[in-house]
């Protein structure tokens, strides 16, 4: 077994609890950017503390870091390729009518499983209509 350096785990644990309290308290300030920082900024800090100190990545050989970095890179590639089409509902030569309609319609009240309208909303929202393209392409969805 490889001997590790063991940091003061108790101190790290209590710091993590303080950071958890900060993320919960953030939204009470009522300012959007404060909530974003306390929620997601603090999450990154907490995750990094766990990864470095509890998972001991700080003392691990570089190859393990490369393996993890590659998987993060693949994730970034996925994000770069897909996110622009999902986050926006219109571009230079396309519009996502169904997604726009879903956004305009809002989410509505709590649904029961028998609510057919709510079942249809999500899948339709993912279809795209491309009016400028020739016939033979996927037909535009029914809003």
């Amino acid at each position: 077994m490889t001997e590790h350096r063991h940091p003061n785990y108790r101190k790290i644990y209590f710091t993590l609890l303080v950071l958890l309290a900060v993320s919960v308290a953030g939204p009470f300030v009522g300012i959007k950017w404060v909530t974003l920082i306390t929620a997601f900024g603090v999450a990154v800090v907490k995750a990094n503390m766990v990864i470095q100190n509890f998972m001991h990545l700080k003392w691990e050989k570089r190859i393990a870091k490369y393996v993890l970095a590659v998987s993060l890179l693949l994730m970034a590639l996925f994000w770069g390729g897909v996110a622009p089409d999902v986050m926006k509902h219109a571009g230079l030569r396309w519009t996502n009518d169904a997604a726009m309609a879903a956004t305009a319609r809002g989410i509505g009240p709590a649904h029961t499983e028998t609510s057919a309208e709510s079942h249809d909303a999500a899948p339709v929202a993912e279809h795209e209509s491309v009016p400028a393209e020739p016939a033979g392409e996927e037909p535009p969805p029914v809003p």
Binding site: M1, V24, A43, W79, A110, S115, S118, A125
Partner: protein
């Protein structure tokens, strides 16, 4: 008992078992990363999901974050004990971690039962689909981790295979890290 060759050699300088855990986690990063990235991009594209997100209970999410952070703390203390050759102590700390896992799942069951009772199901809309898929996949990892930890703790109590305490610990901390990101995504971003 003779061991397979792969468990005794180390081409990278990292013991083979630990390297295997890193490989597992690399694939987990892509699984959870892809799921969470998909959720995030849809959430940005659908501001109306905020209305559904407002129905999640931040306090329950925070309590479960506390439970997982604590279980990670006991898991790393188990690792420390194992490295000092104290298998009994390592097993005891692993048992505490299993207790954390059971608490987490118990709280989650209560939470889901309440939400489903209010009519928020996996088919209600896009937000709830992501909510149940991401939290459900995470909960399955918690259950799997707790079961494996039971076997590792049983061996550790007899001072056997103590290096496995570290391996299950690394996996457990990863499950904790996933929740650290799920918490703000599903419970705080209203």
């Amino acid at each position: 008992m003779s061991k397979p060759l792969a468990t005794t050699r180390s081409a990278t300088g990292i013991p083979t078992g630990r390297l295997a855990v890193w490989w597992v986690l690399a694939s987990e990063v892509v699984i959870f990363g892809g799921l969470l990235a998909s959720y995030l991009m849809h959430r940005v594209g659908h501001p109306e999901w905020a209305e559904a997100a407002a129905a999640t209970n931040t306090w329950i999410g925070a309590f479960n974050t506390f439970v997982l952070l604590t279980s990670s703390f006991t898991a790393v203390l188990a690792h420390q004990a194992a490295e000092r050759g104290d298998g009994k102590k390592a097993a005891r700390f692993l048992t505490y971690t299993i207790g954390g896992a059971a608490t987490f799942i118990g709280v989650k069951s209560f939470e889901w039962a309440t939400e489903i009772g209010h009519g928020f199901t996996i088919t209600s809309n896009g937000f709830w689909s992501f909510y149940y898929t991401a939290a459900g996949l995470h909960a399955l990892h918690v259950i799997a981790g707790a079961i494996i930890m039971g076997f590792v703790a049983r061996d550790a109590a007899r001072n056997r295979e103590l290096h496995r305490v570290e391996l299950i610990g690394i996996y457990w901390h990863f499950v904790d890290v996933v929740w650290i990101f799920l918490f703000p995504l599903l419970y705080i971003a209203k």
